[in-house]
Amino acid sequence: MEKVLTKKFFPKWVEKLKSYKIYAPVKENEHWSYTNIDDPENIDLDYPLTTLSPKKIIFPQREIFLEFTASNEGGTEVKEILPAEEPSVIFGVKPCEAIALTLTDKVFSGDIKDPYYWKRRNQTTLIGISCNTPPSPNCFCVSVNGSPYSKEGLDILMTDIGDKYYIEILTKKGEKLLNLAKGLFKSPTANDKKNTEQIHIESKKKIKRQIENIKKIPPKLKEMFDSPFWDEESMSCLQCGICTYLCPTCHCFDINDEIASSSPIKGKRIRTWDTCQFPDFTMHSSGHNPRPDKASRLRQRILHKFQYFVDRYQNYQCTGCGRCISFCPVGIDLIKVLDKVSDYGL
């Protein structure tokens, strides 16, 4: 189903969604991030990339699994703490970020589903905005089977066509939001449709960066496991967690017990994000570390994203948002590394 919404009516639509918790990109001191907003006037859909993707709303950096108490008198009790019932709407989701969520969906499904992830995922409606111009100089979504107007993973896709938004309703969840403010939406004219198509076609051409020969990369990486290539490429790596924490597809996490009191024992079991780039990620209690150096950890990140994930889920674990490139403090550039991989040994 397709509609159009005049831009000046957009805040009115958001007002009708009061029963939902609304998230949208907000700027504070030059820093953009998805924040819970109360005033629809604060939503600016014409924004560059946020630092953290909307993944943080569905898979937050910290969440509680369970609470426990243990004492000699009271015995031991364990209480499951599921995420609160909080239907949410995220505005301004870039297509690459929505595709990223379909990838994390694969990880958190399987024979054993992750109930915490799915509770939030199922109660969140994603409203995307197509990228008429690349939001980052390092965008390369097209190389990894994405596009600036991809509908995958979204409930609604909006396109800015000047004084209106072109609205494509993709799922029942999306339709529900529209029905709450039916009167604001109109049917698109033939011109509207043409404009949108034109903007979409142009937007793809504006993507400046690309991975050469990405199809060559998974088999090439398999051959390169023992290569000294990784020592050279990882020389300047700082072993911080920026690339992985900012990545919309990364999903590694840690589980720790945090105690509030030790007698009686009272505490929570907490899940937090973790990263394969930290030295202690794979370190055994004995001190043995299967990935003891920067080279093996960089190799893990690249191979996981472009070989292992492909073997397991038939998708690259990357949506081309370019955050890892833009924010790396030492300028390690994923695209350049991958181009070197596809040329390696030639």
Partner: protein, 343 residues
């Protein structure tokens, strides 16, 4: 002005003569603005070296990597490592020498003077050129930065886009070096702690609110710690594992490692991590500003370290990173030290 060709020539010669294992410097990065750290082993690759107002990185922390690497080798190459340093970076080397973490023979220092300017601030530059793509940045003799965009070259007075740390710079040319490139220009800074003025003027509750808001953004990526040359501890307060574990470490020792800071990025833990790190850097931080530049969440963490730098100066007349013979701040005392905090 610094003559880049002289720098390349020196680097080439040292590598030809085998006087250094390799040289850590700056080379062109994947994008046109920011150079990337280079590890040059072959004399002909010295041609890759660059020097421009975007040479932000404090390359000194790679000396920490080198030390760790050497410790694992059976027959280590004892030759020094060559390193290109700015004034602030050279102070980091001095701090590492003070703490006996490095020996003077371990480094061959190619010092580069920032003369009257320094490095630029990416955000200030982006605002100035209103989102145009940068193709090149250069120094000029008249204290301007020359910025090349698709529209051509623009001259911007350096002071308009200089990094905050450069505005209050205490060492615009290296204070320790084997070779120096560029002139030792005397610069007078009227207020070396100007960046603290705004926040120091706020009442206590507002300062608390400010820091709570800022530190709530922290995602504990530890980029600030990873980029800092002085954060070299194998057993860090922030980690739950001690990296200095060997086959002989007993289970009790491992079990008894205290979890000072939880992994959760909540206010209490973020404050604990940042404040402890700032205190552990008191008298050691030389204000290279890398922690703030690396932070993806735009937290002004440099101010925390700057405040302690001011305290060290005012209370103990201590300046970090100028004299390799000077003992570390927290391991020495003078009879005149103020005692009003001892009751």
């Amino acid at each position: 002005m610094v003559n880049l060709e002289d720098l390349k020539k020196e680097a080439r010669q040292i590598l030809k003569d085998g006087k250094a294992k390799y040289i850590i410097g700056y080379k062109k990065g994947a994008n046109d603005l920011m150079p990337t750290p280079a590890f040059i082993t072959k004399p002909e690759d010295a041609e890759d070296l660059v020097w421009n107002p975007a040479c932000f990185h404090n390359l000194t922390h790679f000396l920490v990597d080198e030390k760790r690497r050497k410790a694992k080798e059976k027959e280590p190459d004892e030759r020094p490592v060559g390193i290109v340093v700015k004034g602030c970076d050279s102070r980091a080397i001095i701090t590492l020498l003070q703490e006996k973490f490095l020996n003077r023979e371990d480094v061959y220092i190619l010092g580069v003077s920032c003369e009257n300017t320094g490095v630029l601030d990416e955000k200030k530059l982006a605002k100035k050129i209103k989102g145009k793509k940068v193709k090149k940045v250069e120094f000029d003799e008249k204290n301007n930065f020359i910025i090349t965009t698709p529209d051509g070259k623009t001259k911007i007075p350096a002071e308009e886009i200089l990094a905050e740390k450069c505005i209050e710079c205490k060492a615009n040319f290296p204070v320790i070096y084997d070779v120096l490139f560029g002139e030792k220009v005397e610069r007078n800074i009227d207020n070396p702690f100007k960046s603290l003025e705004k926040i120091e003027s706020l009442p206590r509750e507002e300062r608390w609110t400010f820091w709570k808001e800022q530190l709530d953004k922290c995602i504990r990526c530890y980029a600030c710690r990873s980029v800092c040359p002085m954060c070299y501890c194998d057993e860090c307060v922030a980690d739950t594992i001690n990296f200095a574990v060997t086959a002989d470490t007993t289970a009790e020792e491992k079990a008894q490692k205290i979890k000072w800071v939880e992994k959760s990025p909540v206010s209490s833990e973020n404050f604990a991590y940042h404040l402890v790190r700032a205190i552990h850097l008191a008298g050691r931080c030389i204000d290279c500003g890398e922690c703030e530049r690396a932070c993806p969440m735009d937290i002004p963490i440099r101010l925390l370290n700057k405040k302690l730098e001011k305290e060290a100066k005012e209370l103990f007349d201590y300046d970090a990173g100028f004299d390799p013979e000077q003992p570390p701040l927290v391991s020495c005392f003078k009879d005149e030290d103020p005692e009003d905090f001892i009751r």
